[in-house]
């Protein structure tokens, strides 16, 4: 029953585990490449077979890297795409006599509901499916490529001159977003929480400091609450967005969000669409990833012998602490995430 993983998949898993491929964007890109390769390969004859392959490989990815949700997200996108394309082509054949536009009309879509209960047989070979899919994949790729840029464009709307912005750790989206804001706006002050023990906040501060006309302040995590009273906006990135609008974000994000709540500072989260995952927070233990104990306390120290040391990677931030999501398609409230998910993925693919 167990499907053999493709060579590309195992290589990707290995690369991610070893740390050769980092960052959600890169992981998404690589995963998309693999699925594109699967679609181009001749190993499938009909939509059903293709969907099965995608599902199997996605399961393998999930089992190996349960924390990297973007891989399954992209698989869901592919599945949805396959369904749509198949339906479209199928409809074209069915209603060949009709005006092909008619089958897509709003009226048709609304009245179709009773019809769509009839399950579609995806195992019927469909001419031109491969080409249509590859066409659409191109769109997905472009969307992926421009997602960062599309988010950045909105920087001007959210950041105004002489504001004080707080962020933490180092997110690439946030980095680009802030850089754009610095170019357009004057007298900004950006406070970066360093996010110990990895202290990736230092990298962000160093990168931003190369820009002109901006004041960068790096603070320890303990000072987040103290600084919050002066902050106008909190802008953070996230690892993924859960189905309820909550975040799985870098450790420390919860501290920031709670402090922001206390001082009524808006929390803006930059999340490209591929980070939206139809998952709920259920098993708290499996939710997090725990890193190396060495970062927290030296191995040779005496307390290290007896202490239990945790170095969690993520924080869960509940949706009520998030003010706004900024994705490549615009701003959304956390309560709207469920709607985005239904648009993005097919309901049957939520469980892969």
């Amino acid at each position: 029953m167990k499907e053999q993983p493709l060579k590309e998949i195992t290589q990707l898993i290995h690369a991610i585990k070893v740390g050769l491929v980092e960052g959600s964007y890169n992981i998404t890109n690589k995963t998309l490449d693999i699925f594109k390769y699967i679609i181009m390969s001749k190993s499938w004859q009909n939509a059903d077979a293709l969907m099965q392959i995608v599902r199997d490989q996605c399961k393998i990815l999930q089992a190996a890297l349960p924390q990297e949700t973007v891989t399954s997200n992209i698989a869901r996108r592919i599945l949805k795409l396959t369904r749509e394309e198949f339906d479209l082509l199928h409809a074209k054949v069915q209603h060949f006599a009709d005006d092909s536009q008619a089958s897509l009309s709003l009226h048709k879509l609304v009245t179709q509901t009773s019809e769509s209960n009839v399950s579609v047989d995806y195992s019927v070979p469909q001419q031109g499916l491969r080409e249509a899919l590859l066409d659409h994949l191109q769109e997905v790729e472009t969307e992926l490529e421009t997602s960062s840029e599309n988010i950045c464009v909105q920087a001007e709307e959210h950041i105004h001159s002489s504001e004080i912005i707080l962020t933490l750790s180092h997110s690439r989206s946030v980095e680009n977003f802030l850089k754009r804001a610095i170019k357009k706006r004057q007298f900004l002050t950006i406070i970066v929480a360093e996010c110990a023990p990895a202290c990736r906040g230092h990298n962000l501060a160093a990168s931003l400091a190369s820009e002109k006309n901006v004041e960068i302040v790096v603070i320890p995590d303990a000072a987040i609450f103290a600084m919050m009273s002066r902050v106008n906006k909190v802008i953070i990135g996230t690892h993924s967005v859960l189905a309820n609008g909550g975040l799985r974000a870098a450790c420390g994000a919860y501290t920031v969000a709670l402090a922001a709540k206390h001082y009524s500072v808006p929390v803006i989260v930059l999340a490209p669409m591929y980070k939206l995952s139809p998952l709920h927070l259920c098993e708290q233990d499996a939710f997090n990833m725990v890193g190396c104990a060495e970062d927290v306390i030296p191995y040779d120290s005496i307390p290290a012998r007896e202490a239990k040391i945790y170095n969690p990677m993520f924080d869960y931030v509940p949706p009520e602490l998030v003010t706004l999501f900024i994705s490549n398609t615009g701003g959304h409230a956390p309560s709207y995430v469920y709607r985005l998910l239904t648009e993005l993925y097919h309901p049957e693919d939520l469980e892969i």
Partner: protein, 665 residues
């Protein structure tokens, strides 16, 4: 063209180490395949190499080549994490008995093309060895005689595993000047005399990682007496100019973990470190060997496979439970590792227990600090504790209480040839007690660290935290060592060898009545060979004369006649060395030593001293000075026997003085 060929990073992995320390499990399979937190030890080493960018690995093994080859093949088939971008070859030779043989064999096969990483299969490290390799390459460019770079890790002073050592390093170029397993702290003076900037490290852990140059292999080939890596290091340090090779040292940064698993306490320590995530990313929930993640991480460092059935069980802390295992209600487990498909009954208590695959533990058992091999069965109400090891498939009868015992399944195990098959004590139809005393040949096991000081029994597991209070296995065992070394106090090797050679020369010279000048020449050449100081030579020559067979066992027990005969022939040799007052003092000190050892000499000591005085080997002032510094209590008997002689000497010298005075008048 050459620069277009990319240099492949190669590594050599030595499997089958420490077989002795892992008895009885090492009798049943390779130690490299022992599971450490449910992953075979060799996988950790391979993974470490893979992470360091190694592209080609030679696993060198002698005893269990086929099983290791099988394991490597299975690993590649199941996409083990190390199988990417890395080719693994299993090589080896049945005749290979030690590390040195492996190196020589590698040299003969000419598989290694450049600098290579050398690692033991029992090493667990998350270190990136690339910087060390770079350092080695830089060094090799600068110094053509670079043979190897040894990699060490600084460790805390409070936990001892027996892998610590003492080294002296030149601070300016990281060159190794002195290397010693930590037992005693003797550092030769010339280390400081010849180098202006020396750093001593006494708290280093040796994780058995090294970077070797091509010349390292050929050095092994040139020097057949190099058995272990330590031999190699020692040999190179002693004959630095002769071999024109140097060893350098690299220390791992504090944040990188490195440890060697060469005995059960180390096994326990490293297991705990892995579970406590010190060796990140080598943690149980990363999926080291299989692609899938096998555990879910819960708080208190509990790793539970989703396919394990553990209900109504108290999992206290640091527990790993593999897929397919079943633990019944009421059991309490802490600090333990449970392999695949184990069954544990009701109300068991497991603390620091390491269960491999398919183990069955019946109800009401207590397991503490023990290792249970594959497929073993422990029946009801057993109490197993304090470093017990149960071999694969052994069956422990109900209500057994065991401590510090090694158990194996069958009595007729394969034994070394020179040993008579020992009847093993039986405690059940499938349980026999293995003696862990040093019966076999310890060198058998390719032991890198099997020094003569090795304690008699295998180090056992115990409480790891205790070293802080100084009363655990570690400190015990270091105290034992101290006691042992105090009791025996063997002379440094070179001196002993030198003494032996001088005795040989003298005996031959005495028997063949050869020219004393030749004997002096012979002794002098031995002296330079062993780098003896003049004082030592004086001392040893006299000792050698008295150590000759004819004096130790004289005819008719008449030692004086024998001594007379010996000195008649060898007198010129002795007087060649014993010229100054200092030399006479050395001579008498030697006599003091002989006095302790030879009872015949003891009886006649005053006559012998008198004889030496008569024949002008020693002057009266030397005898008096010697007598003065003899300890009153320790040498009471010797003083008593000499008192008369010294009194007479005093008297005669006064008389002489008187005579002189009279003459003057």
């Amino acid at each position: 063209m050459a620069q277009f060929e990319k240099e492949i990073v190669q590594a050599v992995l030595i499997a089958d180490n420490n077989a002795w320390n892992f008895k009885p499990l090492s009798d049943e399979g390779s130690t490299a395949l022992l599971p450490l937190v449910n992953v075979r030890m060799i996988d950790y080493a391979l993974m470490a190499l893979n992470r360091s960018g190694v592209e080609e690995v030679f696993v060198y093994t002698s005893l269990y080549r086929s099983s290791i080859r099988e394991h490597i093949r299975a690993g590649i088939a199941t996409d083990a994490a190390w199988s990417f971008k890395m080719t693994v070859h299993v090589i080896g030779d049945e005749g290979c008995r030690c590390f040195g043989d492996a190196m020589r064999d590698l040299d003969n096969k000419a598989l290694i093309r450049g600098n290579f990483i050398l690692l033991g299969a029992d090493t667990v490290t998350n270190a990136d060895l690339r910087p060390v390799l770079e350092q080695h390459k830089r060094q090799a460019k600068f110094d053509k005689g670079t043979a190897a770079t040894l990699v060490f890790k600084e460790c805390a002073n409070n936990v001892r595993t027996g892998n610590e050592l003492l080294i002296a390093v030149d601070r300016r170029n990281d060159r190794l000047h002195y290397h010693q397993r930590q037992r005693s702290h003797h550092i030769p003076l010339d280390v400081f005399q010849d180098n202006s900037c020396v750093a001593l490290y006494h708290n280093l852990l040796d994780p058995q990682i090294a970077i070797g140059s091509l010349s390292m292999l050929s050095l092994f080939n040139d020097n057949f007496d190099f058995q272990t890596r330590d031999d190699f290091v020692r040999g190179l340090l002693i004959n630095e100019e002769l071999l024109d090779s140097r060893i350098y040292v690299a220390l791992l940064p504090a944040a990188q973990y490195a440890h060697k698993v060469n005995n059960w306490p180390a096994y326990q320590l490293v297991s705990r470190d892995i579970i406590n995530r010190w060796a990140y990313p080598f943690v149980p929930d990363i999926g080291l060997y299989k692609l899938q993640q096998q555990y879910v991480f819960h708080k208190d460092n509990i790793y539970k496979s989703p396919e394990a059935h553990v209900s109504k069980v108290a999992l206290l802390q640091n527990v790993v439970i593999q897929a397919g295992s079943h633990v019944d209600s009421g059991s309490v487990i802490s600090d333990s590792v449970i392999g695949a498909n184990c069954r544990i009954g009701k109300k068991c208590r497991l603390t620091n227990a390491f269960l491999m695959a398919d183990v069955t533990v019946m109800d009401n058992c207590t397991l503490e600090h023990c290792v249970v091999g594959n497929g073993a069965i422990i029946n009801e109400d057993c109490d197993v504790s304090a470093g017990c090891v149960l071999g694969a498939k052994s069956v422990l009868p109900a209500k057994t209480t065991l401590a510090k015992t090694l158990i194996t399944r069958s009595p007729n195990r394969r034994r070394s040839e020179d040993e008579v098959a020992v009847e093993l004590e039986s405690i059940g139809p499938y349980a026999y007690i293995v003696s862990d005393l040093m019966t076999g040949d310890p060198e058998d096991s390719e032991g890198e660290d099997l020094l003569p000081q090795q304690p008699l029994s295998i180090p056992k597991m115990g409480d790891l935290l205790a070293p802080l209070d100084d009363n655990s296995y570690c400190s015990d065992f270091s105290e034992d060592d101290e006691d042992a070394s105090r009791a025996v106090t063997p002379l440094p090797d070179d001196t002993n060898i030198f003494l032996g050679e001088v005795i040989d020369s003298l005996t031959r010279g005495f028997r063949e009545k050869s020219n004393p000048d030749f004997l002096v020449l012979e002794i002098n050449s031995s002296r330079y060979a062993y780098n003896m100081s003049l004082k030592e030579v004086n001392f040893n020559v006299v000792k050698a004369v008295f150590g000759m067979q004819s004096i130790v066992e004289p005819a008719n027990n008449n030692v004086l006649v024998a001594i007379n005969a010996a000195f008649k022939q060898l007198g010129p040799v002795v007087s060649n060395y014993i010229k100054s007052e200092d030399a006479m003092m050395d001579c008498l000190k030697a006599l003091e030593d002989v006095y302790e050892e030879n009872h015949l000499v003891r009886e006649k000591i005053s006559q012998i001293v008198h004889y030496l005085y008569d024949k002008d080997f020693v002057s009266e002032s030397a005898i008096q000075a010697w007598f003065e510094q003899l300890d009153e209590e320790e040498h009471a008997h010797l003083r008593k026997s000499l008192a008369k002689l010294v009194a007479w000497l005093d008297q005669s010298s006064e008389e002489d003085d008187d005579d002189d005075e009279e003459d003057d008048d």
